[in-house]
Amino acid sequence: MKKKLMFFVVAVITAVAAANAQSPFFKKCEDAKGVTTVLVTKAMLKMVGSTPGMNMDGYSQALIKDKLDCVEVITSTSAEGRAFLRKEADAMFNAKKGYELLMKVKVNGEGDDVKIMKSPLKGGKNHFVVIAGEPSEMVIVSMEGTLTLEDVLKCTKR
């Protein structure tokens, strides 16, 4: 009886979670002042990958259509928005939350700093997060799927 009940509850939770693929970080940023958020869902990615005349090579098309589950782009040019994003990103994407730091670059004097984080997901998928801070803009890119760092480099070499 308990097993049946657990199965039922898990099924409901899974269904609700599947219908809500947006990350908690994105959710927090949606209502933040001076922050712009863009979410591209798996359904739209499949549509992009299947739409003819998009001027993309085969590699990019395959990546977008088959390897990406979700893309989120969060930007801010205001001081308030940048401070918010930095604070929330530090709180959300860290080792305690299961994120591994892949790369960190800081160019002193120019005010640029970049961090790339990765968190493994179920089914061989990964969640990559790029936090790119510049003196006038802060950009956070979040990508989920089976993509690799090599895929990213390959499809941007044109």
Partner: protein, 182 residues
């Protein structure tokens, strides 16, 4: 009717209380005996007829006891059925509770959590522009990292070369010094 005024007053009072349904059993019997009197004044005939008609509508003798017995037997049967299948009833309760919780969770989540649907105003072209931008930012970040590593390697290489040169120079000087001593 040879009744005196007292009897008539009593009859009036009893009839009034009969309609209010506040008569005791003895008072009802007394009322009926007064109404059955053949010399009943005409003004009470309508009441007599009404009360007799209502008497005809009363349940038969012993009906109340039989009804109570039937209710008791049904209640006993219900009790026996409930105690015979407690597991089934409990299971039904569990499923009802689980279904209620699940529905509440699903409905609540749909209200609390924002909609995760793709904004309708975004075209595939715009979506591709965003994905391309995201990939470019990602690749730029990676390249920055690789460039920094290359620069660091180059610096390390130069430093190592300088160190080897310095060591070989030192070694040469030491050899010269030894030769001079000999």
């Amino acid at each position: 009717m040879n009744k005196n005024n007292k009897d008539i007053d009593t009859l009036r009072t009893l009839i009034g209380r009969y309609y209010e349904a506040s008569l005791s059993a003895d008072e009802e019997r007394k009322l009926r005996s007064l109404l059955d009197n053949p010399s009943l004044p005409a003004e009470f005939h309508a009441d007599r007829d009404m009360i007799r008609h209502l008497d005809l509508m009363l349940p038969p003798e012993g009906f109340e006891q039989r009804l109570e017995a039937k209710i008791d037997s049904l209640a006993a049967a219900e009790e026996k059925h409930s105690s015979a299948a407690p597991g089934r009833r409990r299971r039904t309760l569990w499923w009802s509770a689980a279904a209620t919780v699940a529905i509440l969770v699903a409905v609540g989540a749909s209200f609390i959590l924002p909609s995760r649907q793709q904004p309708e105003e975004m075209t595939p072209e715009e979506a591709y522009a965003q994905v391309d931008k995201a990939l470019t930012i990602f690749a730029t970040a990676l390249n920055k990292g690789y460039d920094s590593i290359e620069k660091a390697e180059a610096k390390t290489g130069k430093a190592t070369e300088k160190a080897f040169n310095a060591l070989s120079l030192l070694s040469t000087n030491n050899d010269n010094h030894k030769t001079e001593k000999i």
